[in-house]
């Protein structure tokens, strides 16, 4: 058995293999780029629409929305520069009055992060809406945070009133066992979804404690604009 002819074969073959792999690779890359470019505007539009729908859900009576980003000292209108920072969305009624603010918050649930959007109404000093943007909670148990009517009723008017000098919340949002809610700043948990409802409470508690005072102090600067969020 000689090795020489096989070697010759191998060089010829490796060239062929190289061409085949590079050719297929290029073709695949082209296909992916074409699809990416083709679907990009549609996907961006869908995501923006989904977010806008969520804002409408958490802020009753909202007709238009505007995005803002926290620059460190104040909220600046969200533009296409993609500035980093906490994003909030202001909602306005048809007559141009401020209906409130929608804020995203994230908590550690039973199965990964739970991303929620909540509506804050500075006139009532209360949370007025709640929507789960993303969760991987167990169907039938943890996902009750999206469906349980008694739990969602917590967010019809959850008090986040400020203290006298407006620097912090009078009472932070707290968790209460199911059926033991006594104060307007407590969230009534769900039996069988303790971890998930506690995660939501913690996400809201941390987020409201940090952002509600900042928004309340600057609430007069928010005016309806023609620009909308991304």
């Amino acid at each position: 058995m000689t090795i020489a002819p096989e070697k010759k074969d191998a060089t010829g073959n490796s060239n062929k293999m190289l061409f085949a792999m590079v050719g297929i690779g290029l073709m695949c890359a082209l296909l992916i780029v074409l699809t990416y470019e083709g679907t990009k505007p549609i996907i961006a539009k869908n995501k923006a629409a989904a977010l806008e729908q969520a804002i409408f859900k958490v802020l009753p009576g909202t007709a238009t929305t505007a995005g803002y980003v926290w620059t460190g000292e104040a909220f600046a209108p969200l533009d296409d520069t993609g500035a980093d920072g906490k994003r909030i969305y202001a909602g306005f009624s048809e007559s141009g009055e401020l209906t409130g603010f929608a804020l995203p918050a994230t908590g550690q649930g039973y199965a990964g992060d739970i991303r929620v959007l909540y509506g804050y109404d500075p006139a009532q000093e209360a949370l007025v809406g709640f929507y789960v943007l993303e969760s991987k909670e167990t169907p039938g148990l943890g996902d009750k945070i999206e469906k349980d009517a008694a739990f969602l009723a917590n967010f019809e008017a959850l008090s986040v009133a400020l203290n006298a000098d407006g620097s912090a919340l009078k009472e932070e949002v707290q968790y209460a066992k199911s059926g033991e809610k006594e104060n307007p700043w407590e969230i009534d948990g769900i039996t069988g979804a303790t971890i998930s409802s506690r995660a939501v409470t913690e996400a809201l508690s941390a987020s409201t404690a940090e952002w509600v005072p900042k928004i309340y102090q600057t609430k007069d600067q928010f005016q309806p604009q023609s620009q909308s969020h991304e």
Binding site: K16, M17, I24, C28, I32, T35, L141
Partner: protein, 215 residues
């Protein structure tokens, strides 16, 4: 594969034609889930509702069809030594395309299918059809094979999805079936329910097959 049968009527005629046989094999005789037991990850994980099952089945069928077409048309060109790498590359491309397409169709749907779209890449059903069929047959036959297997896979996923959604959630395609007094079997929408449902379907299929074999 293609011997004449003595069954009367439509199905006999179908089974005698080689193209229809290719198609029907995937749909019924070699059903990817109930007979070949391939691609169990999506079968168990994404069938908690009928809608998810249908979307997953269609996405897989699309990837299967496109990869079969491409593998079959490039079969003279791909050297034997790098064929698996080439197939995976082709499959991965179409999975990525599907991923973008689903995002463009509905953000909600993309949310509920989650990571399982990307995992179509490693669905052994698709690689097995590329290797066992498309790399050895003409494009027309490969298309039929992909359609048969794809429809068969979707059908199987739907079988599981419908049962699990009705029992676990009291609804079908999101429409409530029962009054509020219905106590949902939550276990059916959890992973364990997937195993139960699959086992029962496999049992039914094997009983059917045995009955056919004896008669």
């Amino acid at each position: 594969m293609n011997k004449p049968t003595d069954k009367p009527g439509f199905f006999a005629a179908l089974e005698d034609s080689p193209s229809a046989d290719t198609f029907l094999r995937g749909l019924w005789k070699d059903n990817p889930v109930f007979v070949q037991v391939l691609g169990m990850c999506p079968v168990l994980a994404v069938t908690n509702t009928a809608e998810n099952a249908l979307a997953m089945g269609l996405a897989t069928a699309f990837v299967l069809l496109m990869s079969n077409v491409l593998v079959s048309s490039l079969r003279q060109f791909i050297p034997k030594q790098v064929r698996i790498a080439s197939y995976i590359l082709i499959i991965a491309t179409f999975v990525t395309i599907t991923d973008y397409a689903i995002q463009a169709i509905s953000v909600e749907l993309h949310k509920s299918l989650g990571a399982f779209i990307s995992l179509i890449v490693v669905n052994c059903l698709i690689l097995s059809r590329a290797e066992a069929f498309a790399s050895k047959n003409k494009i027309g036959q490969s298309v039929l094979d992909a359609l048969g297997m794809g429809v068969g896979f979707t059908f199987a996923l739907l079988c599981l999805g419908v049962v699990r959604e009705v029992l676990g959630n009291g609804s079908i395609f999101g429409l409530a079936l029962f009054p509020d007094t219905f106590q949902e079997w939550i276990v059916m929408v959890l992973p364990a329910g997937g195993f139960f449902t699959l086992a029962i379907w496999l049992l039914l299929f094997n009983i059917l097959k045995q009955k056919r074999a004896t008669t």
